[in-house]
């Protein structure tokens, strides 16, 4: 299809972008374009203007500073997937980014655009929620940080306010006794997550689990933590039996009418098999601990 008419502005700085957004309240922010452009072409969105932030180089970086990996909003999925820093310190994020779409999508799509769009079938929201990421937002009433649990409000909905721009995402770094992983049941056509499970585990020197974070995406409007699974893991040695038994509690997080279903995979099916993907993520994460 062909997009309806819109005005196009290219911002050369975050401040300029914020000013353009203030000036054009009906405008949409364009980053990698991999969520927005299809909506325009299908005429499902008709913003009066686009503010293109795609060439603001300062938004494209992965830096470690004082216990946090700070990821610029324009960092592409391919850059996430190949970052040595992420692969060693936030493995699940690099792993999930490498499973997004196909190489063309990963080379153009950005982490900021992805999470701002908040497609429930997207991979990154669940992983970022699992890793306890914080989202830095500017514009409007100034700079602020939003925790993942507050950032993803629901289906295609985030805490980014009117006139605000997401500039970076901070992921807390962890010591080497921690392992994380992402397991995905990909839709055969879109490669979006039918079910996505992210797990991060911390063990003490005896190999006992001291902290577990397990988050589900793909089958719910916004990432959901599997707290029963997490609680069951703490104190175990993360052996296969412990992981299997804890994974069996996945359903408790999905005991809601919010589970998504479609013509490919019903809500009932997704709810029933989600634990398999949780188990796979946990097994990988446990193997990466220590």
């Amino acid at each position: 299809m062909f997009a309806p008419q819109f005005d196009y502005y290219r911002a050369s700085s975050v401040a300029e972008a914020a000013a353009l957004l203030a000036e054009h309240p009906e405008a949409k922010v364009l980053a990698g374009g991999h969520s927005l452009i299809p909506l325009l072409k299908l005429r499902l969105a008709a913003p009066s203007a686009l503010v293109d932030i795609g060439r603001i180089d300062s938004l494209r970086s992965i830096l470690e500073e004082s216990g946090t990996i700070e990821i610029g909003a324009l960092t592409t999925h391919a850059e996430l997937a190949s970052s040595e820093l992420l692969r060693s310190r936030a493995t699940a994020l690099a792993e999930a980014a490498g499973m997004i779409g196909d190489p063309a999508v990963r080379n153009r799509g950005t982490i900021g655009g992805n999470v701002a769009h908040a497609d429930p079938a997207s991979d990154l929201p669940a992983v970022l929620a699992c890793l306890g990421a914080e989202f830095r937002v500017t514009g409007g009433d100034g700079d602020r940080s939003v925790r993942a649990s507050d950032f993803f409000e629901g289906l295609m909905s985030t805490a980014i306010g009117e006139g605000e721009i997401l500039t970076s995402i901070g992921v807390p770094t962890v010591d080497s006794a921690c392992g994380s992983a992402y397991a995905k049941f990909a839709h055969p056509a879109s490669r979006y997550a039918v079910i996505g499970a992210a797990a991060a585990l911390v063990v003490d020197e005896d190999g006992s689990c001291t902290c577990a974070s397990v988050t589900l995406g793909g089958l719910v409007p916004a990432p959901v933590r599997a707290t029963a699974v997490e609680e069951a893991l703490v104190g175990t040695r993360l052996d296969a039996a412990a992981i299997a038994s804890a994974s069996g509690l996945t359903g408790e997080a999905l005991d809601t009418d919010d589970v998504l279903g479609d013509v490919y995979a019903s809500a009932e099916y997704r709810r029933s098999v989600a634990q398999v993907w949780v188990q796979r993520a946990l097994s990988s994460a446990a193997a990466r601990c220590g």
């Binding site: 062909f2 979006y192 013509v263």
Partner: protein, 785 residues
């Protein structure tokens, strides 16, 4: 070079332009003063059109014209159906290019906008106000046949497009009554959406002063387009030129001549300027023809030692809202006549009901009727094996038609040309290591893993022809092909063919045929196709017929050239023609090969004509119109190995082994490519693809985000092997290979999955075998146990 060129895997000469992006497709062509057209399509599956207000659109920026159905009265007729299936009570509903009072599927055209830019056309489409009265829709063929179903066409009772039967051999009722065992199954051959890489397009350029029109069109058969456009749009065939430039795949979906093609012609004729229409991918999903869509109730009767005694079936075939150009022949002639498969089956009966539904019209899709037949037969044979506790390979062996090399009649009325079905299966089982696979399966089952091995042995009807048969089966055209071979003075060759390859590689393989016949380098041969103004009449590229029929025409034209060259060479060497010999492009007197004339020498002499034998015309050129005496029947045996994860229902295809026999291979690399592509499309039906409508007739799988086309990461390496059994009646012995893979592979993969699930008690899963469907069938079987 020369003779050895036939049969060598030289590189496809089509590829450099394709992979460097320099090929010219219809949408690449830009003409001065060209306008753009866009179609307004019904968003409802069944609705009465009360009123269409185009006034705002007509005044929108850049808009030159807006037309609705009434504007086309007397200008273009309905889109024709050209396969008038005899003895079937065929009813053809008027397929108005622009719907007049009722829209009957999501995608039915209700108006067209012509504007200066493509964006202006789409902006103007949004301004057209259509007042619809919603009507109930029916989307599933068996439901369409039911009493009380919504009726699509007032003049057609019960939505029935046709009722066709095939009956052959002994008394079918008696066969079933006296059988030791009967196995039954209901199969849904789901609707598939072809997805050629290039969407469809048309560019029409009408010159009022001369009354001539040139149409660039994404088609598999430009000569048929010319014929039908002349009939529908009233432009004499001699003033009409149809060009199929580079065509990016078709798989059957570019056989039909569509309403949008006729509308584009109408707009150009009306406005006197070139008008281009290019469909969007969403339109491609909605309005380019779909494939399959059968509900099949099938049963097989056999003796207790596994000998088949009868096959009976009833099929409800969804045809869509209207009959597309060749549609009625697909689920009937190309399907029902194939029900004997590779087996000796003494009695066969099938009823096929073609039904109108509120869906996109269905047409040929790679394999076209034959995959649906092969699947039925191969499924039944496996069910029989299970019922009798026999190995599926053994049941097949007990029923194969024995090896034959010059004709075998089956009870559906076809005469197969040549085949060694047991030979193909034996080779397959050896290459695949069948016994080890069964041992591995047994081991895996002990560990609670579910490995399955599936077989599919098939024969297909290819090389559609002869024309006499075309007439008898109601196909409103011929089924011959033509070729012109023209030598230039320098010895270079142009070949003009009526067929219209669009990805199959005949620019390469046809040069190899010439090289093999006349001893020139294939690099000295250019193959010209796709333009009705500089190619002879031909009926098109579909049904794996281009090499099987067009290749024969070409070989015979080359042999005419050789005969004429022999006469000229004899004259130049001052010898009698009967004393002459030909070898590898050289003509010489028997026993004196050192003194020879090359084909290039002869080409020069024939063109300058300084010294020609008496009574021999100048020039070195030949034309052949080849009408084949029969179809050709490629065959083979395929094996798939899968593992099913019972916890999630997901299927992993671990191995795929194919043995195909298409006769002598002109270019084995191209054959392998065709086999690969075909197999993958068939696997797509088994595992991933389905065009899904909801009960209101909304297409739920209308984008590439929803409709799963096979991707490389879901596939194993495909192991390709072959046997060679020449067709006795083809000048080169060749058969056809374009559809073989698709015809075989769906059943192989499906049988493998059911084989894997046997310990769990699952015997049937609806396709595609998505994880959820497999998982649910496991759950249901567990509940039953």
């Amino acid at each position: 070079m020369s003779a050895s060129t036939f049969g060598s895997g030289i590189r496809r000469r089509e590829d450099p332009r394709l992979i460097t992006g320099t090929a010219t497709y219809t949408d690449d062509i830009v003409l001065p003063g060209m306008l753009h057209a866009a179609m307004l399509r019904s968003p409802f599956a069944h609705a009465r059109i009360r009123n269409i207000d185009t006034s705002a659109a007509a005044e929108a920026p850049g808009v030159v014209a807006v037309y609705i159905g009434a504007d086309t009265d007397g200008e273009i007729g309905p889109a024709p159906c050209a396969w008038l299936l005899p003895d079937s009570g065929l009813t053809i509903a008027d397929y108005h290019c622009i719907a007049k009072d009722t829209a009957r599927y999501v995608g039915d055209i209700v108006a067209v906008v012509v504007a200066e830019s493509i964006h202006q056309t789409y902006d103007a489409l949004d301004l057209i106000d259509v007042d619809y009265d919603m009507l109930d829709a029916v989307v599933e063929p068996k439901q369409s046949a039911a009493e009380g179903a919504p009726q699509l066409h007032a003049e057609i009772e019960g939505n029935q497009a046709f009722h066709w039967t095939v009956t052959g051999g002994g008394d079918i009722t008696e066969a079933f009554e006296s059988a030791d065992v009967v196995v039954k199954e209901t199969i849904v051959q789901q609707r598939l959406i072809p997805n050629a890489m290039e969407p469809r397009a048309a560019l029409a350029s009408y010159t009022k002063a001369t009354g001539e029109l040139t149409l660039w069109n994404t088609t598999q058969n430009p000569h048929i387009v010319r014929f039908l456009v002349s009939l529908v749009a009233g432009i004499p065939e001699d003033r009409l030129r149809v060009i199929a430039p580079e065509v990016g795949g078709g798989f059957g979906s570019k056989i039909a001549v569509y309403p949008a093609d006729f509308i584009t012609v109408f707009c150009s004729k009306k406005l006197g300027v070139p008008v281009k229409w290019v469909e969007t991918r969403s339109e491609n999903y909605q309005a380019t023809t779909h494939g399959r869509d059968h509900v099949q109730e099938i049963e097989l009767a056999a003796t207790s030692d596994g000998k088949i005694v009868g096959l009976r079936a009833t099929v409800w075939a969804g045809m869509g809202a209207y009959l597309s150009t060749a549609a009625p022949g697909i689920p009937t002639i190309l399907h029902g006549l194939m029900l004997s498969g590779v087996y000796d089956i003494p009695a066969i009966h099938e009823d096929v009901y073609g039904l109108y539904t509120n869906t996109t019209p269905v047409e040929a899709y790679r394999g076209a009727g034959r995959p649906e037949a092969t699947f039925m037969v191969e499924r039944l044979v496996d069910l029989l094996a299970t019922k009798l506790g026999m190995d599926p390979a053994e049941v097949r062996r007990r029923n194969f038609i024995p090896k034959f090399d010059d004709g075998h009649d089956v009870v559906t009325g076809l005469t197969y040309d040549s085949g060694d079905y047991d030979g193909a299966l034996t080779k397959l089982l050896g290459e695949a290591g069948y016994d080890q696979l069964r041992a591995e399966q047994a081991e895996a089952r002990k560990e609670g893993r579910y490995i399955g091995v599936g077989l599919s042995t098939y024969v297909e009807i290819c090389g559609l022809g002869p024309s006499q048969v075309a007439g008898a089966i109601g196909f409103q055209g011929g089924l011959w092909e033509s070729a012109i071979v023209r030598f230039h003075p320098s010895g270079k060759v142009n070949v003009m063919i009526g067929a219209s390859p669009h990805g199959q590689g005949e620019e390469t393989t046809f040069a190899q045929i010439i090289a093999g016949e006349l001893g020139v380098s294939p690099d000295d041969v250019k193959v010209i196709h796709g333009d009705t103004e500089n190619t002879p009449m031909g009926w098109g590229t579909y049904g794996s017929r281009t090499t099987a029929v067009g290749g024969a025409a070409l070989a015979l034209a080359a042999r005419k050239i050789r005969d004429k060259a022999m006469v000229i060479a004899a004259h130049l060497l001052e010898a009698a023609v009967e004393d002459m010999e030909y070898e590898d492009g050289k003509f010489f007197v028997k026993g004196s090969p050192e003194s020879s004339k090359t084909i290039q020498d002869i080409a020069l002499m024939a063109n300058v004509a300084w010294n020609m034998p008496e009574g021999v015309e100048a020039g070195l050129e030949a034309t052949t119109f080849y009408d084949p005496p029969n179809f050709v029947f490629p065959y083979g045996a395929h094996l798939a190995k899968v593992e099913v994860d019972a916890e999630t229902g997901s299927v992993t295809l671990q191995r795929y082994v194919a043995v195909d026999d298409c006769g002598p291979q002109i270019n084995p690399v191209i054959v392998e490519g065709q086999v690969h592509g075909g197999i993958v499309q068939g696997i797509g039906q088994a595992l991933w693809e389905e065009g899904v409508y909801d009960e209101d007739g909304q297409l739920l799988t209308g984008t590439m985000l929803d409709y799963a086309i096979p991707r490389a990461d879901g596939l194993p390496d495909i192991e390709v092997h072959s046997t060679v059994t020449p067709s006795p009646h083809h000048p080169l012995g060749v058969k056809g290979i374009g559809e073989a893979g698709t015809i075989a592979s769906t059943a192989a993969v499906y049988n493998a999955v059911i084989d894997a699930l046997q310990p769990l008690g699952v015997s049937s899963v609806r396709m595609p075998l998505t994880p959820e469907r497999v998982w649910r069938s496991i759950q249901a079987a567990e509940e039953d146990n």
